[in-house]
Amino acid sequence: MQLSIEGVSKAFPGVQALDKVSFELRPGEIQALMGENGAGKSTLIKIITGLYRPDDGRVMIDGQEMSFQSPRDAIAAGIGAVHQERNLIPRFSVGENILLERLPTRNGLLDKDAIHNEARRYLDLLDRGIDTHTEVRSLSVAQMQIVEIAKALSLETKCLLMDEPTASITEHETEALFTLLKRLRDEGASIVFVSHKLEEVFAIADRVTVLRDGKNAALGEPMSTMTRQNLISLMVGREEHIVNKPQRSVDTGVVLEARGLQTSFGHRDISFSLKRGEILGLYGLVGAGRSELARAIVGAAPITGGEVLVNGKTADIRNVHQALNQFRIGYISEDRKNEGLILTHTIRENIAVTIWRRLAGALGLIRPSAELDAVMPYVERLEIRTPSVEQKVGNLSGGNQQKVSVAKWLAANVEILIIDEPTVGIDIKTKAYLHELIHEIAAGGTSVLLISSDMPEMVALADRILVMHDMRLVGEVANDRRYETVSNAIMNRIHAVEEERSTATAG
């Protein structure tokens, strides 16, 4: 199947997710689709699979223009997909999930044998260990992922979209998947492969298309002409934008300390200390447990062992309310839309939410003018672009939303600020602003715990870098702002842990 996307655009309130993007997929090839979070990959995939309709541009299959009204149409046109989100029905059996939309029947009733035999065929391509009769909700995350892939395979379509299919499966299973995908390709299938893991892309893709900020940064370039380095720079274009801050040595008292923390997420033995005015980096791959740790510290998730000390005193923080008002700790969530902001509220209300308590006078009354006076400096300082502070936050661009999300915690005037992935999915200019800002905050005496999986960002900002892997802290790296050495040191720590584990399980 020949799939061509020509000049497709898609806008959401406040964001241009795709701007005249093209993409072309030939029969018998595996093409990688790459880009940072927020580059527009998911939007593109949702357009191809009929979930979104493009504002502009054309989707063509074998030279014919298509207009998908729903995922149904896309499936009918021969496009199968493994989506990033979990798309299984928890209480249904594995077999039923795989064949969900075309369950075989006999005399009008479901043919259970046919379901399980049929599903078995596809599942066997990947993993013989999963019983098709099991309810999906009792599977492990990796097994669910396998079921998702089997489900997409079972459509027997000539075109397969795989959005991060390997995110939660083991190396062994990944290998099996790759062998299978290559076989399908050799049989003439067209496959789109989305992944953040460079090794995988190099291992499997024939060509690559890169998106950056909703535009094409590369269109169907052969992988043979690519190196890791230029693929990264195509994706992030970041070398020229990220400015390293001068190295500092912070030699002050400890404000936040963790001693042997355990959480219900599975964190074990987490110990570190954060000094006044320091930027402590917390680096880790997606799923390492960084955000979860942050949530536990601010009381949004339970701590099951160990202790947190604030200014040398044991702090039993049970909720964010307490973290903010009693211990002066703030957390800027990475999940801006669901946790960081109230999209239907105004900029004024979103920023002031952390300081209402402070603004409230007798009888809990808040004077509107006082609220405005408290909010305006931050709106100006962060240069939030808006006609009015009474604008709903949902109407702002991603970058401006992130500024609001940061502004409300600046307004809160906390001593300790945990900043989680501050620059994901926002434009480069805002990113530079925010880097500058984080540096300034720390220089002003606020202690910052910076969570990021953006290595150059980490190297540019952090004073020290903690490395987290699989719910544990696996090392600390001093940051001398030399990208190559620091990033190598970090990745070496992670690889060392992985190796230890594989030898341990092998032996």
Binding site: N319, L324, S333, I342, H345, V353, E383, S388
Partner: protein, 348 residues
């Protein structure tokens, strides 16, 4: 990048069309303003129609009657509105109301308490039952619909068991006298109570810490929680307030009827309690309230009820009208795009 300033926050801000204006937009709090004006126009039109068709409609005695029932309808609407603000609902408003009615009746007639004590007792019970709802919702994490559906039955059942469904008919005469009192010949003092409550709620949501926290928790509980808003506490307070308002409405009914009857309230309040707020522009999804809208919404309900009565169409068709009006209102709202915008924003 040349245009990235190094030390940007000591820079002068350039006044361009994109920079902030501190001019207060009316769009936030008055989101439903246009809807309310439309609603008000409909109410006004109905008044013209009814008074033309039936001259008795504007007679002082009918106006007094309308005012009295309007007062109760408004407060019933408020008791639902305050939980809708949190994104929840309270199906037990009627049950709580009638529980408060019967306790007040008992305290006045059987226990011989002075009127202020009895009123306080009724209100306190309403608040306590509301608190129970809120507590159960927050502690179990089960949605408000099912908890209050069950508690409505529980409260009503308990009240009937304890009171044996016998009304209190011999209340102190002052109660009935207050209900019959007319100011300027046709205005019931109950209406002033309803308006005063409306004013207090307006200030609560517009100008106080608690009100802001309630709306934040209603619009996005996770984001509110992560911003330090004690969401659980706020929900419990809202339900307590709802119970208190339901009890107030119940007690106003006692004054109106001059007796405490077990047949008031219950499921009969369900539809009116949603009609006022929803017609007035309060979103079911939470995070917004329309205090004035709820009052106008209640006015629409009361007007239609009274108009049909005066025209002798009979109460039987009233239900049909109310249902159709509710449908028309939510659909008009939907197509004005308010819901659409919310949905697109709420989506990931």
């Amino acid at each position: 990048m040349a245009d990235v300033p190094v030390n940007f926050f000591h820079r002068q801000s350039h006044m361009t069309d994109e920079t902030i204006s501190t001019e207060r937009s009316r769009r936030g709090f008055f989101a439903g303003a246009s809807a309310q004006i439309g609603l008000f126009a409909i109410v006004a039109l109905l008044w013209v129609i009814f008074s033309t068709l039936a001259p008795g409609f504007t007679s002082p005695i009918n106006l007094f009657g309308i005012g009295r029932s309007l007062a109760v309808d408004i407060v019933i609407g408020f008791s639902q509105m305050v939980v809708l603000a949190t994104g929840g609902m309270n199906l037990a408003v009627g049950s709580i109301g009638v529980c408060a009615v019967m306790l007040t009746g008992f305290l006045l007639q059987d226990a011989g308490m002075p009127i202020p004590v009895a009123l306080a007792g009724g209100l306190l019970l309403g608040g306590a039952l509301g608190w129970l709802n809120g507590f159960a919702i927050v502690k179990t994490g089960v949605n408000a619909f099912i908890i209050t559906l069950a508690s409505a039955s529980l409260f009503l059942g308990a009240m009937l068991i304890l009171s044996k469904a016998v009304p209190y008919n011999t209340l102190p005469p002052e109660v009935g006298q207050f209900g019959r009192m007319r100011i300027w010949g046709y205005v019931s003092p109950l209406l002033f109570i309803a308006i005063a409550i409306g004013a207090a709620l307006y200030v609560l949501y517009r100008h106080t810490l608690l009100g802001r926290q309630i709306l934040a928790a209603g619009a996005n509980p996770r984001a509110a929680e992560m911003s330090g808003v004690p969401v659980g506490r706020v929900i419990i307070i809202s339900h307590t307030l709802s119970g208190l308002l339901a009890a107030t409405a119940g007690i106003m009914l006692v004054a109106r009827l001059g007796a405490a009857m077990p047949s008031v309230g219950g499921e009969d309040w369900l539809l009116p309690s949603f009609l006022g707020p929803v017609l007035g522009g309060t979103l079911l999804a939470g995070g917004s309230v329309a205090v004035i809208g709820t009052m106008i919404g209640a006015a629409l309900v009361t007007t239609i009820r009274s108009g049909l009565l005066v025209l002798q169409v009979g109460n039987f068709w009233l239900q049909l009208f109310l249902g159709l009006i509710l449908l028309a209102a939510v659909m008009a709202d939907r197509y004005r795009g308010v819901f659409l915008e919310r949905r697109s924003l709420g989506r990931k």
